[in-house]
Amino acid sequence: MPKRYNWQLGREMDYPFEAPPPARQVAYVFDTNKCIECQTCTVACKTCWTSGKGQEIIFWNNVETKPYGGYPLEWDTRLLAKTGPAAWKGTTLVTPTVFETEGDKQPPNGHRPAVDDYSSPNVGEDDITGTIEMGAAFSGVHPMWMFYLARICNHCDHPACLAACPRQAIYKRDEDGIVLIDQERCRGYQECVRACPYKKTFFNVISRASEKCIGCFPRVEQGQVALCVESCIGKIRLHGFLTTRGEPRPDNPLDYIVKIRKLALPLYPQHGTGPNVYYIPPVHVPNGFLEQLFGPGVEAAKTMYRKLADDRQLLGALLLSGASQRIITRFEVKGDEVLGWAENGDEVARVPFTEPVYIRKHYDEVHNVYRHNTT
């Protein structure tokens, strides 16, 4: 099997195909510390792309509560039960990826969810890790935790879905790295469903073919961010491109946050697909759990995040989340603002570090009403 360098693993790994990296790679930063699990992203995606018959239990975007939630049910722990836990030596993965255990006559290591596994997308919602003593919530910090994990297709560098398809009906676009299933060629074998470690390809019973998040490519082609990004209430999402051919650029917000500062980390990098949704780990969750999810960079990322207030360049890049419908490819911190520019040079975002505060009088003389603080 050909070898490919996987920068997230610090080593080469087996992958069934050779291909140069795309001209640039679509990528996202999701700040788990800010997600409120409002599911606006889920609804935005579903209303636009998956509201047809046959797509009732298909959510290209979903938001689940960790540690117990998962859509489809136990999507991640069932694979971990097969692969065993990841082990790293420094920043190099020593355990095998999903491409390195099955030989060349079987698709990557994976598992097939049953149909019922899709029918409770919100299972485990808001559940914390254990019960707490009566009254503990009022007596300070208690050790139980949970957090929200928003998930879409990772438009992976080395997609397992693509590697598993015996018809080569899945392709990675050269212009932006978006991974698509050719809806004309797919014959519904569901090999991609079995192989994707993130379970982000789905079988549609009306199409009798598989489908997946299309990365909102018609919008990306017009320089617009994905619907799930634009609609995000918590402004946790930043959509852009990683540099693939050449050094990361410090003025590219995605390069800066992901590649240069390593504040945001890939989800389950040990599977080897090179996922391109990068998560800022939740600072209140123990590292033991997080390191299986996000790899060895967790503690450094948490430390950086806690010091964000003094890190204006990094904070500036993050302030671009939810600041524009246009994809920002260049940014600059200027005085008390961060500016973002679209590909064509248009200034599309100007965000102050400190939001202006207006204090209004308790009594409104114009309308003859009293204002109440309801928050």
Partner: protein, 327 residues
């Protein structure tokens, strides 16, 4: 493009004529009589044809080639359960796991299939039977249906592994799901999950829960049928036949024919599937394997046990079986 059945040799020398008793021969004799009657041939011509047919049959037998007799059109059974099949010649095709290409079939559940065939000089009907304890006729996430296929080389040298770059194969593919679509109605969400409910499907018109295809005739309502809109043949919501024609030039190259003249029917009865594949000997389509009266060819068989997760390359298949069509 070259041809699947080799043309019969012209003017091959006379061979001794012999009457052979037995089921197959009985079918043949009836057949000759019918052909003679149908064509109004005089006794002499009828006898000559009968002699020619028998010569071919004997030679095929000597060569170990499966001989496909010719009967009158009305006597060709299209129903796979027609008792007439019992007296048609049969051959047992050994099947094994597909282990040449990713993904391989890990476990075999079918070891052989029985193939029978009859023709009328213009059409040939293949009857395929194999044991399967339970019929799997629908698909869902992680759920697959039973299926079978016959393949014919479009040129003589095609490997049984679905042909290669220079030697395409022509495939007739039947799926239990498509049979159910045709026999009952397009298998919809509620056929799998009766209680599924959605308040709204954009632009669908009809009573909830909205049936496909009837309530989705507005083209705007079909926007979410992405694979159907892209023309994917597996996503046809207006399917009328359970058999699809395809071409292949090796693994992963399967391509549906836009034009298809093949048909068929599958029936599960008493622990076995029985299928008929019906197709004309000759077509205008250069992608099709062509057959001649008195010509030889090869056929390959593949069987999928949906209940055991068989799908795509995860299948049982056999090597080529040589056959000869009656002159």
């Amino acid at each position: 493009m070259s041809t699947a059945t080799t043309r019969p040799e012209q003017g091959s020398g006379p061979r001794p004529w012999a009457l052979v008793a037995g089921g197959a021969a009985a079918v043949l004799l009836v057949a000759f009589a019918l052909i003679v009657a149908e064509r109004g041939l005089d006794r002499g011509a009828g006898r000559e044809l009968a002699e020619l047919v028998e010569r071919h049959r004997l030679q095929a037998e000597t060569d170990g080639v499966f001989f496909v007799p010719r009967v009158e059109r009305a006597a060709v059974p299209v129903d796979p359960l027609d008792p007439a099949w019992e007296s048609a010649p049969s051959i047992i095709v050994k099947l094994s796991r597909q282990v040449d290409a990713m993904p391989i079939l890990e476990r075999a559940t079918v070891s052989s299939a029985e193939l029978r065939a009859l023709g009328d000089g213009e059409w040939v009907v293949w009857r395929l039977s194999w044991p399967d304890e339970s019929p799997d006729m629908n698909v869902d996430s992680g759920r697959f249906c039973d299926a079978a296929a016959l393949q014919f080389p479009v040129s003589g040298e095609a490997p049984h592994t679905m042909g290669d770059d220079r030697n395409p194969v022509h495939i007739l593919h039947w799926k239990a799901l498509w049979q159910k679509d045709v026999d009952e109605h397009f298998q919809d969400v509620q056929d799998l999950h009766p209680n599924y409910w959605a308040d709204l499907y954009w632009f669908a018109d009809g009573p909830a829960p909205y049936r496909v295809p009837d309530d989705f005739s507005d083209p705007r309502s079909q926007q979410w049928f992405a694979a159907f809109s892209a023309g994917n043949p597996v996503s046809d919501i207006y399917r009328t036949r359970p058999v699809e024609e395809l071409s292949a030039t090796g693994f992963g190259s399967l391509t549906s024919h836009r034009e298809s003249v093949s048909d068929g029917r599958g029936v599960w009865r008493d622990g076995s599937w029985h299928l008929s594949f019906v197709r004309p000997l000759r077509t205008e389509d250069p992608l099709d394997a062509q057959f001649w009266r008195g010509g030889r060819g090869t056929v390959g068989v593949a069987v999928w046990n949906g209940g055991d997760g068989n799908v795509g390359a995860r299948k049982h298949w056999g090597f080529w079986t040589a056959f000869e069509l009656s002159p």
